[in-house]
Structure formats: C-alpha cells, structure tokens
C-alpha cells in the first residue's frame, strides 16, 4: 500500500453566492509514478467534482497548471508526489485574478502584456511570396528561440516581489519578451523605441533583483541575465539621450 497523502487545497468559487475562501482537506493513496496531474484529476473525479483547476498539455509544455505547491510556484504536471511530503498544500498563483479554487486568469494578463510591449516583429518590409526567404544567421535564430521558450505559466510573475507590490509591472516574462525582439534583426525598432516601453518602474527599473523569477522558472530561462542585458542597453540609451539634449 502506498502512502496516504493529505492535500490541503484552497477553495473559493467567486460565482457561488456566499462562498468564502477556505482550505479543504482531501486524502488519497499514492500510486506508482503519481504526479499532481493524476492526483488532482482523481480527487475531482472520485471525491469532489466541484474542484476547479487547469491542466492542458500535462507535459510541461503549455504552462496551464502553474500553482503554488507547498509554498513554491511550479507546474503541477511535473510535480511528482514521491518528491513531496505526505502533506501537500495547494494554493492558486497570486497576482493573477482568481477564476476559482486553483485556477487563475493568466490569459488576460499576458494579452495585456503583448499589447503593452507590442509583441510582434515591427518591419516596413512587405512579404513577397515569389521571393526566396530573407537569410538569417543560424546562431541568431537559435538565440531568438532561446528567448521564445517561455511558456507563460506565470510562475515568475507570481514569485516576484515587485509584481506583488505594483500591478502594472511587466515582470520577468514581459521583459524577456522585449529582449526577444531586441535581438531579432527583423525588428526595426530602435533602442529608443524600447526605452519608451520599458525605461521606467513598470519595466527594467522596477526590478528589485530578488532573483525569485529565475529560481522558479520551470523552463530554466536565464531571466535575470535578460533583465541585466536590457538594463545595460537602456542605460546607454538614456545616457545618449541626456548628452544629446545638451
């Protein structure tokens, strides 16, 4: 027989009249190779079908199932029960609006971020279907891809001190997004254009350097490096601007 695992799960359905946030306890017997994906689905199907949580790919690729697992933001799908103590506390990610129980609204947050950072290649060129593609150095293509590996799970933002204090902070995910376009030669925006977007407390100067974003990133992205890279670039841009005015 496997361990009896006790789950302490945050419960609150904002759509239910009179519901108040509270913790609820469930118990489940551990089976071999059990992940939180298996466990939560079993709890919902066998014990309480009103339980609200999100999963999508269940393979660590889509980022849907981020939650706070024993105090630390992470992906539920790649959390193995055998690595956890016999009591597991589950809370929804902070910062994002609560949908219900463990599910939060990351979709709207990220959509706003795309709008703020104008998250697309800015180019004056027009696509010509009869022509050969524009050439690119493979190492640059790989560099762009490395920055595009973010799965928008939201862990970095919910672990971020600044994001907890000010809701207009772009967060590591947002700044990483800007860095992706800065290195892309197809994007014709200048450093000055980027400065308009991130040269402020909502952007690079809001970061307190607590490093939690990078600690909790399930894809292991070098988020602090990107922030440092942008700060340096934006710092130079700001200085240039000051000297120009003189």
């Amino acid at each position: 027989m496997g361990r009896q695992i006790k789950f302490e799960i945050f419960r609150y359905n904002p759509q239910r009249k009179g519901d108040v946030p509270h913790m609820q306890t469930f118990t489940l017997e551990e089976t071999q190779n059990m992940t939180l994906f298996i466990a939560l689905n079993r709890l919902r199907e066998e014990q309480d079908p009103s339980l609200i949580f999100d999963f999508c790919c269940r393979a660590g690729i889509c980022g849907a199932c981020a939650m706070v697992i024993n105090g630390r933001p992470g992906l539920a799908c790649q959390t193995k029960i055998k690595d956890q103590p016999s009591k597991i506390t589950l809370l929804p990610l902070p910062v994002y609006k609560l949908v219900g129980d463990l599910a939060v609204d990351t979709g709207v947050w990220f959509r706003e971020m795309y709008a703020k950072t104008e998250s697309w290649v800015h180019t004056s060129k027009v696509f010509d279907p009869t022509k050969e593609e524009e050439r690119m150095d493979n190492s640059i293509a790989e560099e762009i891809y490395e920055l595009e590996r973010c799965i928008e799970c939201g862990c970095c933002v919910s672990a971020c001190g600044t994001a907890r204090l000010r809701d207009d902070f772009l967060g590591a995910a947002g700044l990483n997004r800007v860095a992706r376009f800065v290195v892309d030669p197809r994007d014709e925006r200048t450093d000055k254009d980027y400065y308009e977007v991130i040269g402020n407390d909502q952007g690079i100067f809001g970061c307190m350097g607590l490093l939690a974003c990078e600690d909790v990133c399930p894809k292991g992205l070098p988020l602090q490096n990107q922030l440092g890279f942008l700060r340096r670039k934006m710092g130079i841009t700001a200085l240039k601007d000051i000297f120009k005015k003189k």
Partner: protein, 626 residues
Amino acid sequence: MQTYYSDLLVIGAGLAGERVACEAAQNGFKATCLSIVPARRSHSSAAQGGMQAALGNCAKGEGDCTDVHFIDTVKGSDWGCDQEVARLFADAAPIEMRRLAHWGVPWNRVVPGKSFYFKGGEKFEKYEKEENEGLITARSFGGTAKWRTCYTSDGTGHAVMCTMDNRCAQLGIDVFDKKEAISLIHDGDVCMGAVVRCLRTGELEVYLAKATAICTGGFGRIYKATTNAVICDGGGHIIAHDTGLVPLGNPESIQFHPTGIVPTDILVTEGCRGDGGTLLDCNEERFMHIYEPEKAELASRDVVSRRMTEHMRAGKGVKSPYGEHLWLDIRHLGDKHISTKLREVDEICHHFLGVDPRTELIPVRPTQHYTMAGLRTDKDGAVYGLKGLYSAGEAACWDMHGFNRLGGNSLAETVVAGGIIGAKIVEFLEGYETKFDTGCINSAVKKQQQRIHDLMHGRNGKLNVYDVRNEMQDALMKGCFVFRNQQGLEECVETLQGTLKKARKVGLVSDGIGPNHELAAALKLEGQVKLAMCIAQSALMRTESRGSHNREDYPERNDQDWLNRTLAYWREGADMPELSYEDTTPLFELPPGDRGYGGGKIIPADEKYVKERTVKSPVTEIGKKK
C-alpha cells in the same frame, strides 16, 4: 445575455484557427477567436518535430520539390487522401514557411560546411553549400524521401504558435480565452455562430458571425490512452455533428503511437528504439523479435503498436494501477548516449515519472496519437451540410492525410490549410451578406439553458459523468484500438449503444456553478459517445486494412471495394450513425500503388475506374521511377 458580432468566428485558437483568422483580418474583416485555454497553450504548441515543406535548401533536401512531397503524402495516406488537396498543400507549404519567417518564426538556418548526422545508430557526414547559408534548413523526419522538415530546435509548434499569436495581436484580432462553444446556431441551411459558455463565470454568451470556422484540433481524449492534451476532447466536432447535417469523414481513421509513458501517455520518441532500445514484457523478456524476426523493435509505428497489443492480450502485460503496460529498456545505451542523444527522453522520465532510464525501465503502452478523422469539408474547407461553416487543421477531414498521416505533415497542415481555407473564407465573405434570425438564436440558447438546468438538477437521471466517460474510453480501447476484428467491433458497438443510453441519463454530483468542470464534461459526453460509435461502426463496416485502420480478419488493402471515404451522419433522434460513402479522390495524379512499407496484399481497383480518373502530371513519371 451578451451578444458579440463579427464577420468570422473561429472556434479554437491553435495554429489553424489563428492562421484562418489572420487571413480574414488582413483582408479587412473582423475576426474573433474563441479558445478554451489561452491561445499559446493550444495543443499546436506541443508539436516538437517540425513542418514539412519542399524548400530543398539543405544538403539532404537537395532536389526536393513539391511533386516529391506530394508523392510522399499520397503514399503515406495509403491512397486514402484527396489528391487535389494533397497537391494544394504540397504547393503552398514552401510559401507558407517563408511567410512565417517574415512574421517572426526563428527557423533554424543552413550552416555551411561539414557536419555529422546519425542514421540507424551510424554516423554519417554531410556538406552544406556556401551559397545556401542562412536559408531555412530542414531535418529528416518520418517516411519522407528528402530532408524536408523545417524546425526551430526542439520546439517548432511552440515557436510558430508564439509568432502566430503575435500576428493576431498585431492585427487586432479578438482572441478570447476560457470560452467554450457548446452549440452551433443554425436554421438547417446556414450557420450563424455559436452559443458559448464562459469558463470564467459559467454564463452563456452568443457569438454571431457571417462565417464560422471550427479549428479545435483532434479528439484523442475519447480514448483512455492518448498523447493529446486534455482539451482535445472533440468539443468542436460535437457541436457540428450534433446538427445532424454535418458528416464526419473517415471516423475509423485514427493513428496510434507505440510508446506513450504510463500513466500520463506523454510520448517518448521512436528514436529510443531506433538507437537500440528494446521492448520488454512482464517477465522482462524481449518479444518483438518473435513476431517480427527481421525488424523487431524497428518495425513501423503501426506494426509495433499492433504487436505490443497482441503481446499484452496474450497475458504478458505488466499490471499497474493504471492498467496494463510493457517496458521500454534503454539502460544498455549508457549514460553518455542517454544524456546527449536522448536528452528529451531523459527529461520526460525524470520530470513525469521520477524514473532514471540509465538504471530503470520505462513503462510504455500504445497510445492514440492523431485523428485523421474529422469534420468533412470540400477542398475549400467548407464543411458539408451547412453554408458558412468551415473547418481547418486536425479538426477537419480536408483529407490530405487519408488513412495515415506522415510526421511533420500535421503541423504543416495547420498553417498551410489555415492560409488556403482562410483565403476561401475571405472570398465567401466578400460576396455575402446575411440576416440573423433571432428566433433561431433564442431557441438555440434556450435549448442549452435547459440542458444545463437538467444536468444540474438531475432531471434526466443521476448517473456519474466520469463513470460513463470511463465506460466509453474502455470500450474503444478494447474493441477499436490498434487491432480491429468483426467480433471485437461488434461488441464495441453494442457496449457503446448501452453507454449512449447512460450518457443521456447523467446528472451532476456538484452544483455546477461557475467554471465547473463536471458540467463541461457532462455537456459533451453524449456527443463523445456518438463520436466513439461513429469510429466503431465505420471500422466494423470497412472490411479491409488501410493505413492505421487494421482489420485482423481483412489484412489486405482492398482498392476494388474500399477506395472511398466514409461519411458518418448522426440524424436527429437516431441511436446509430448513418454511413454513406464517396470517392476518395476526384482524380489521380498518382494512381494507386504500393505505399512502400508495412507490407500487405493489395486487391487492385478496377483498371477502367483508375484510368478514367488519372490525369497527366509530372508526378506520374516520378512516381514510376521511385
């Protein structure tokens, strides 16, 4: 009730859906996309391999052209595809890849000079030409004659999805997430939009549009073991099929993969076996060589899946709390090989199983992987039966895959078909005005409100949603999986007839308020069982083996009787699907022949029939030579 209006409503915001929406928006139409999850979480993003397009830039792709891509696709389909569609696809794919590059996809590029690659465990050398430096490169993938698969490292789907979603943001397309369409609105002739349940609040909303496109991916989740994301549950198929007017094309055409890990069915690559990994049974003994003395573990995908199933049926499966499975053993490949060449597999084992493949066995079983079946459309992507309704991507049976889909063709299809069908939708919208019948809208909404009310209050019965769903999944796994025969299929259909009755008698255990999952599952359950019955009944009727559809009792491919496509309708009030058939393809550029692997006898088609439909094409000559 909130009502939204647009020119084009796209249900599903994966690659196909967003590509269709972009085409409409670029041409000045207002497009709205709905998605159960934020668009970038779509199952498209999980595809790692790449997209096939005959660019012919890299050394091993030299001499590639759209004709060869076309031939590979038709052969791969086991002559089950529509050749007009395969042609449209192969011709448009290179342009589409270049367009994606223009929009921002960081495709891997040609690096000139000497480099190495591995094939069947052996090391080979290749030289990339100086003059091709920086062009989009390709890798080898599946059953293709040339290296043709464009890729971005190990995350093609994810990277292309990011770019496509960026493009939508740029074009100002409304992409609403946590929205699930639960019914189409139509008057029997024309589709007007959909009734949608908001997965934030549980409230119903109405989305009206001149044209509606269903791009919701596959429906693997009606099987118990599937590599598909949990959102690939057939929601889009169900709302269209439920009208009674729209047929499913080739429901029996479902692809399986031999090695999904147990319990979560995440795929581990065929490379494991390619590099020398072996399959073991409950006694930790090899068995593939008994069935396939020559190729053993290296036999094709469908053959290995079949043999594994056969061996488990013979009582050699490993019992587990999640059902029976077998073992994949790569321990002997050693640390160096596993941590470099099979890094991805190593990570999957580590992250999702807690297994170290250097010292432990990996639990695997054959798993549903891809649905070639789908909403039957014509070559313009227009769904049969309702004006103004379209479908693209895995959700559709546009039919470039026939009975077997080639690796790299599915991900390419999403954007290539999305572009072609998007353009056809634009043509439709340009010449079309409509009136929305408020009576139709009201009655569609009322019907859904009533269904929800009945489920919440147990008016139809109190059967458990998840129990009934399990019964359906088990029935398919048992009788309609990699192996099929008359007895098994008859039993499967009979079981599912009982399951259908049960599906009509479910009631919620929970209160169903807000973003309740049990209600979402209950709302689609009857439709899922109907999909399952369409698969089983069509498989029972198709007395031949073609591509992934494998009948033990009819092992030959029978072109004489079965060079056709199944259309499965579900008429209102019926308890069984109604099957009819249409010609597989209006013309042959490549007349039926041997697909080149997997063996099997072919009963040839009537010569006159083939001759009358064969057109002159450069392909006929290339095809003969190969």
